[in-house]
């Protein structure tokens, strides 16, 4: 049974005026976010580049349009969110979250939403938009600490979600998770955690076409949130095979 075909619900939505009312494809996108748990809390890493989708509807290619985009933000007292995908949708998610936290504060009851609650809320929002065929085109990482309990989760544009000791979006799943599965362990120190994240981000820089060498690391502990100043990673390009790539096969490239 091909379930994706049997969706007559889509008939009146595709190729009609209703198209102007919903997201068809992403326009300005950010690439991978990587997150890990460490001894004192959570560490997130993301670069600051945003690419424009193909500049006309027929051709290839994309343009690096924005180079100073903050793709990680704090949420309430106990959480941080990192987003990849469509940046305008991330900005709308931040408006939803700001309202969520505001209403939570207005209860003035001494309670505040922890990362688990925020992650659950985000999952419901993403899933419900997917149900209406108008998704928020993002993959989100949500991490935080509350009452000593660390939490790290992720949710994507169709509502698939899970929590783990390390998570990543997009290309990060292919390139960073294997490194983390090998090298992550409980009670990493802050320095070890940053080194591990930088290793992941370096691999992404080499191999992800849409990665840029300007990144931030966000840290959240029981004490609060810190997002680092942007910095760049050292890279090495002097491999012998790249010095004279066509030696032995003149005329090739």
């Amino acid at each position: 049974m091909n379930v994706a075909d049997s969706a007559p619900a889509m008939n009146n939505l595709i190729g009609s005026d209703a198209d102007s009312q919903r997201t068809l494809y992403p326009y300005v996108t950010g690439t991978s976010v990587v997150g890990i748990k460490y001894k004192d809390g959570i560490l997130l890493a993301a670069d600051m580049g945003d690419y424009l989708a193909c500049h006309d509807s027929g051709s290839y290619g994309s343009t690096l349009r924005y180079k100073t985009v903050e793709r990680m933000k704090s949420v309430g007292k106990h959480s941080i969110i990192g987003a990849s995908g469509e940046i305008s949708d991330f900005q709308e998610i931040m408006r939803y979250l700001d309202e969520l936290i505001l209403y939570d504060n207005m209860w003035d009851d001494g309670n505040s939403f922890g990362p688990k609650e925020v992650h659950n809320y985000l999952t419901r929002v993403m899933y419900n938009r997917r149900n209406k065929f108008n998704p928020l085109w993002n993959s989100l990482v949500l991490g935080g600490v509350k009452n000593g309990q660390k939490y790290l989760g992720t949710v994507n544009m169709i509502g698939v979600h899970y929590e783990d000791n390390h998570v990543a979006t997009g290309f990060g799943n292919h390139l960073s998770r294997p490194i983390l599965r090998d090298e992550w362990h409980e009670n990493l120190t802050f320095e070890e955690g940053v080194k591990l994240l930088e290793k992941c981000m370096r691999v992404l820089l080499y191999r992800d076409r849409s990665a840029v060498n300007k990144l931030q690391i966000a840290k959240i502990t029981e004490e609060g949130v810190t997002i680092s100043q942007p910095y760049s990673l050292k890279t090495f390009w002097n491999f012998a095979a790249f010095q004279n790539p066509t030696v032995g096969a003149e005329g090739s490239w």
Binding site: S6, Y25, T123, R130, I158, N173
Partner: protein, 223 residues
């Protein structure tokens, strides 16, 4: 210049396999804990089994977001049932509710492949098996998900359930003991993990019987 069309699917297959076996006075429900997408593993430790009521457990594989939403809907409906009837839902009642819930979204289905397991009102093991739109029947054993095609023929051979067409109806529950059934389940998953790339990592087994509920875990291949 053609208009760019939507090129996203509202569905994904996050893989995994579920099995349930009904015994004379017990029920075994098992599922692997691997969650995947495409050729990537998202989590090696994600549970597909949920306890919906005292005597009902559901294991579901397929599209994880739909599975989770389905679990929440059923849990909420069970809570309302308890408020209204001052008792827990029986397993056959939950079976009907699950069927109705799935058919409710007949024209935008929950991409979830479910097995419901538990004890009926007489304390006998019961297993119900479903397709994505709510078609269901009570059986002695069932398997759903990516490894089902590998496991079902093996279970057919080992459990030899009598034909449901026989008159008078023969009991479908297995005469196997609880520990024999658990061993059989472990064998099923060990075999399925060899050949199904979406099945592996860890096996979660939940056993429901008159004394209550208990869990067992078994490591599976991680490749």
């Amino acid at each position: 210049m053609t208009k760019q069309q939507a090129n996203w699917s509202p569905y994904d297959n996050n893989g995994g396999t579920c099995v349930a076996i009904a015994g004379a006075d017990y029920c075994v429900i098992a599922a692997d804990t691997r969650m995947s997408t495409g050729y990537s593993i998202l989590s090696r430790d994600y549970s597909k089994i949920i306890q919906l009521a005292d005597k009902s457990l559901m294991a579901s594989s397929g599209f994880q977001a739909d599975v989770r939403a389905l679990q929440k809907v059923l849990a909420a409906r069970h809570l309302i049932y308890q408020h209204q009837h001052n008792k827990q839902m029986s397993c056959p009642a939950m079976a009907q509710l699950l069927s109705n819930t799935l058919y409710y979204k007949r024209f935008f289905p929950y991409y979830a492949f479910n097995v419901l397991g538990g004890l009926d009102s007489e304390g006998k093991g019961c297993v119900f098996t479903y397709d994505a739109v709510g078609s269901y029947e009570r059986v002695g054993y069932s398997s759903q998900g990516s490894g089902a095609t590998l496991i079902t023929p093996f279970l057919d051979n080992q459990l030899k359930s009598p034909s449901p067409l026989l008159l008078p109806a023969k009991d479908a529950v297995t005469p196997l003991s609880e520990s024999e059934a658990i061993d059989l389940v472990k064998t099923c998953f060990a075999s399925a993990s060899e050949r199904d790339i979406y099945t592996g990592d860890k096996l979660e087994i939940v056993i429901l019987n008159a004394s209550g509920i208990r869990r067992e875990y078994l490591e599976l291949r991680k490749d």
